[in-house]
Point group: C2
Chain length 164, copies 2
Amino acid sequence: MNPRMIPLALGLLLMTGASVAHGQGTGSGKATVDRTKEEAALRAADLAWAAAAGRKDLDATVAFMAADGETLPPNGPAAKDPAAIRKIWADTLAPGSSVDWKPVRVQVAASGELGFASGTYTTSSNDSSGKPVNDRGKYLEVWKKVDGNWKCLMDMFSSDLPLP
Amino acid sequence: MNPRMIPLALGLLLMTGASVAHGQGTGSGKATVDRTKEEAALRAADLAWAAAAGRKDLDATVAFMAADGETLPPNGPAAKDPAAIRKIWADTLAPGSSVDWKPVRVQVAASGELGFASGTYTTSSNDSSGKPVNDRGKYLEVWKKVDGNWKCLMDMFSSDLPLP
């Protein structure tokens, strides 16, 4: 190599290093975010969440929520802290009740750290007289990446069935 | 400048150019997306939407929805096409009814093309006997950029009040 080219080579090396650092630093470069892969990961996280709820594992279920997450239930106030969110899940996973859901529409931003999932759910429970009650509806979840894992930031759901 | 430094300077120039091109090409670089500005624009769009609904301008109201948007009302099926979404809005904006809402939490992805807004709403209407009925609740909207404008992709809302 011509010794006079060394500074240019160094510049090019710096450029490469800077681009890589830029991509890693923002997590937003096309080169570093594979949206198809991230959308598959978000969908898998949503299904793993439903599986945890299906086996009534309360700790594992609430662990899918981000620390600053919110649960927005129908006919009740928003739950904006972990204790309030845990209370909603404890009721949902109470003995005699069951819940399942499946994502239909999943999309992740080009930057790979924010996305959403929407789909359908079914629940069954017993009313105060012990009579079985089935419900079905839809949901909308906003997810964000926290330390490399998808966590649910906003969780909202409502029945498809008319008011009783 | 030391002439031996020119190649290095050239390399640094290339590096800067490459970083800018990288940011522009993906629309996702920190250099090209001002998240604070985008979040303000999303919030403003949500408030403009509420203003259009407030003056019962049905065309302007439904125009805030993306062409592939969905409205997810409580106690009813998801509206997944423009005609079904327009029907929900026509009912919401019917004579004697009114609606207002305000975003509380707004966040846009680093790439600037996907975000969400969540906040509170109030409605008033008359029941079948003509008696005024007031409702209040919360909502969750996912927004995406379409041709430079924020459009609502997923719109969900539910009452804070217990079932009647």
